[in-house]
Symmetry: C2
Subunit: 453 residues, 2 copies
Amino acid sequence: MNTPTKILLDESEMPTRWYNVVPDLPVPPPPQLHPGTLQPAQPEDFGPLFPQALIEQEMSTERYIDIPGEVLDVYRLWRPSPLFRAHRLEKILDTPARIYYKYEGVSPAGSHKPNTAVPQVYYNAREGIKKLTTETGAGQWGSSLAFACAQFGLECEVWQVAASYRAKPYRRTMMEVWGGRVHPSPSELTEFGRELLKQDPDHPGSLGIAISEAVSQAVASEDTRYALGSVLNHVLLHQTIIGEEALLQLAKVGETPDVLVGCTGGGSNFGGLAFPFLREKLAGRMNPTIRCVEPTACPTLTKGEFRYDFGDTAGLTPLMKMHTLGHSFIPEPIHAGGLRYHGMAPLVSHVYDLGLVEAIAIPQRECFAGALQFARSEGIVPAPEPTHAIAAAVREALACRESGEEKVILTALCGHGHLDLASYDQYLHGDMQDLELSDEAIAEAMKDVPVLA
Amino acid sequence: MNTPTKILLDESEMPTRWYNVVPDLPVPPPPQLHPGTLQPAQPEDFGPLFPQALIEQEMSTERYIDIPGEVLDVYRLWRPSPLFRAHRLEKILDTPARIYYKYEGVSPAGSHKPNTAVPQVYYNAREGIKKLTTETGAGQWGSSLAFACAQFGLECEVWQVAASYRAKPYRRTMMEVWGGRVHPSPSELTEFGRELLKQDPDHPGSLGIAISEAVSQAVASEDTRYALGSVLNHVLLHQTIIGEEALLQLAKVGETPDVLVGCTGGGSNFGGLAFPFLREKLAGRMNPTIRCVEPTACPTLTKGEFRYDFGDTAGLTPLMKMHTLGHSFIPEPIHAGGLRYHGMAPLVSHVYDLGLVEAIAIPQRECFAGALQFARSEGIVPAPEPTHAIAAAVREALACRESGEEKVILTALCGHGHLDLASYDQYLHGDMQDLELSDEAIAEAMKDVPVLA
C-alpha cells in the first residue's frame, strides 16, 4: 500500500455544511420532555438556555445545515484535520488490517470540542449574548469554550468538577489564558452548590452537578446563556464535520471502512465521526460495522437503561430518552479514562436501540496498554478518552492477524493527552485498577430516575 | 489578501535534503578545539560521543545532505508542518503587516526537537548503538529523543535538570510513555553529580551539569552514545527542514519575507528557520532582515562574549568558539521563558559576528503579553521559548501600524506550551518578574572561561 501517512484536505475542500442524521433514521427519535409538564418540550422552553439558532438546530429535521462563514474562518485555524494511516502501528501489531485515524488533537484546545464550541459561541454572539456559562470535567470542554469565546469577544464562566479542578491546575490555566473564569464545582456561587458544600466541604463534584450550577447561573441573567459540550442534537450536528472530512479523505485513497470504532462519553465524538458513515450505510453505499466503545467503569450503553432521565443532577434540564446510569451517578474517582457522564446522547442511544450501531465496554488497563503501543509507534500521546477507541481498533487489528482479513478500520483520535499525563503516570507505575460497575451500584443510581407513565 | 490560513505541503513536496550553510559563508567558521591539546578537534576525538555519520555531518562542507528514507518515514508522522498566515493576530494588532508563522508544535513531542532527534537516533541505530544518553531542561529535548528512540528500538536515558524534574513531573511521564528512563540531575549515578550533591543535596542543576553527566555515562560504555538537542552543526543542519519547507510554502502564496525573527536558546530553531533564508539572501534572491531574539535573563548574543568555551559545566566537551555567558552560568530559577543555555550555537554566533544577522533581547513579561494576544487570536498556546519570537513579531507589526508599511514578517512557533502552563499561571497571577542580567553577574560567570593564547 502506498497510502500516505497523512491524508490532507485543502481549506478549499473543507465541508461547508453539517449533517443532521434525524431525517435519515427509519424511526424518528423520541422528543425531549419538559421537566414540569412531561409534555414534549417546545422551542420556547429552551429560550433561557440557548439562542434561537441553536434551538432550531436542536429540533431540526433538515438533512444539511450550512456552516456560517465566520465559523469556517475559525475552523480554518486547525481544520480540515488530518486523517492518518497508522502504518507504524500496523507494523508492530503485524496485522493485515489497514488502520486509519482521524486526529482532532490539532485544534487549539487539543480535542474535537472546539468544533461545536465555535458555532455555539458564534450564534450566541449574533443574538447579542454577552456571557456563556458551562461545566467541565477534565477541562477539555471548558477550555474549548474559553477559546471560542475569545474569538467572538464573549465572557466565559466555567464550573469545573472540583476533583479535576484540584488535580489538574493546568487545564484551569489554559482556560484563563483564553480569558475564561473558572470555579470549582460545587461552588458557593449557586444555591445547589452551597447545599452540597454544607453536606461535604470537600465534595469532589460531578459533571451532573456542574451542569446544574452552570445552568442555574445562565437562566438567572438576561444576557447570559448556557453551552453544553456533548449529548444534545445540535452538538452532535456540529461534530459531523469530522465524519464528513473523513469520508472525503478515505475517498482520496480509495478506501471504505469495514469497521468504525469510536469512544463514547456524552456521544459527540462518536456521533460526529459515525453519523455521516451511518448515512452512507443506510443509503446502501457502504456497509461498515459501527461500534461504540465505553469504559467498563461507566458503561452507559452496555449496562444503562434506555429511558427518560435528566441531563443534570439537580433535575433542571428537559428529560431526554437516553441510555443512563441515573442522573445521580458519580463514577469512581480512580477511574482515569474519562467518559464519565451518566447518560448518553439521545441520538446515539436511539441508533443503538434501533440496532444500527453496536457497543462494547473495555477496562481501562487494556485501554492504556493500547495507548502506549500507539504512542510508541504513531508518536501521538492520546487523551484518556480515545484510548478506548484505540484499544478497540487494536482488538480488531489482532483479530485480522488471526483471520488474515485485510479489514479497513477507521477510528477517531479525538484529542491528545498532554494535559492528562497523570493518568499515564498511574498506569506506568502500576497504580491503575480496572473497574467493573456492579449491577447493585447501577440499581442504586437508577433509583432517582423519574418513572414516567 | 486571500492567503489561506494554513499553507500546507503534501508529503510528496517535503524536502529530501538538509541544507548546510557552511560552504555559503564568506568566512569559514572557526574549528572546535580538543579540550586537552587545544588543537582543532579531529573526527576521532568525537568517536566516543557520536556515530560516524553524525561526526561527518558535524564537519561537513557539503552544501546539501540527503535525508535517509527511514528518517523521512518518521518525519511524515507530522511533516511537512503547516505555515500559518496570522490573519486573526494581524486583525487585533490592526497592522498592515502580513505575519506568517511556521508551526512545529504538530510533532509528537510538541516542538521542533524531533527534527534532529529522529536522524540522530537513526544514524546511531545504523551503527549498532543500543543506548543514547542526553540531558534535558524543561523536557522538550528529552521527550523528543525518547520518542525517536521508540521508533528505532534504542534505549534512552535522560538527565533532567533537577529543578525541572521536580517542577514538571508530566514531562518525565511523557518521556516514560515513549519508554525513556529519566534521572534528576545532578544524580548519584555520576562522579560529577555525586560531588555536586555532596555540596548541596537540593542542587537545582543546570543544562551544563546535565550535559556533563550524560556525556560521562555515554563515553563509559561501548554501545552507548550521547545526543545533543541544539548548538552543534549537525543539529542545526537537521533543523533546516523548517526553513526549506517555509521557503516552499511562502513561494506558494507568492511572498518573500522582509523580516525574519526567531528565538534563540542553543540556536537550533533559529538556524533551522533562518539558514535557508540566509542562503537566499547571500545569493541575492531576497533581502530579509534576519533577527535573533533572546531573553534579557540569558542574553548570550547581546551581552555574552564571542570566544572559546566549553559546552558543558564540567569541561568535558570540545571547546567551541561561541557567544557565551560562561559555562558555569546558571540563569535565575524564576526566569520562566526557557532559552537558558549559557552558550550559543557556534554557527549562529559566527553569522552574528559576521553581521549577517541581528540580535535583540526581550524581557519576559512582554513575551508573555504577546503570547496571550497570540493565544486569544490564533488559538495556539505557545511554549515559553517562542513567546520571544512572537513578542518580536508583534513589535515589528506595531511598527508597521505606525509607518504604514506592509512588511512580510516570518517567524517560527517552535512549540506549544501545553506542558508549560505553570509559566502562564505565573504571568496571569502577577508572579512574573522581568530579569535583566547585570554586567557584574556576567563578569563573574566569565571568570571560568579558559583563556586561549
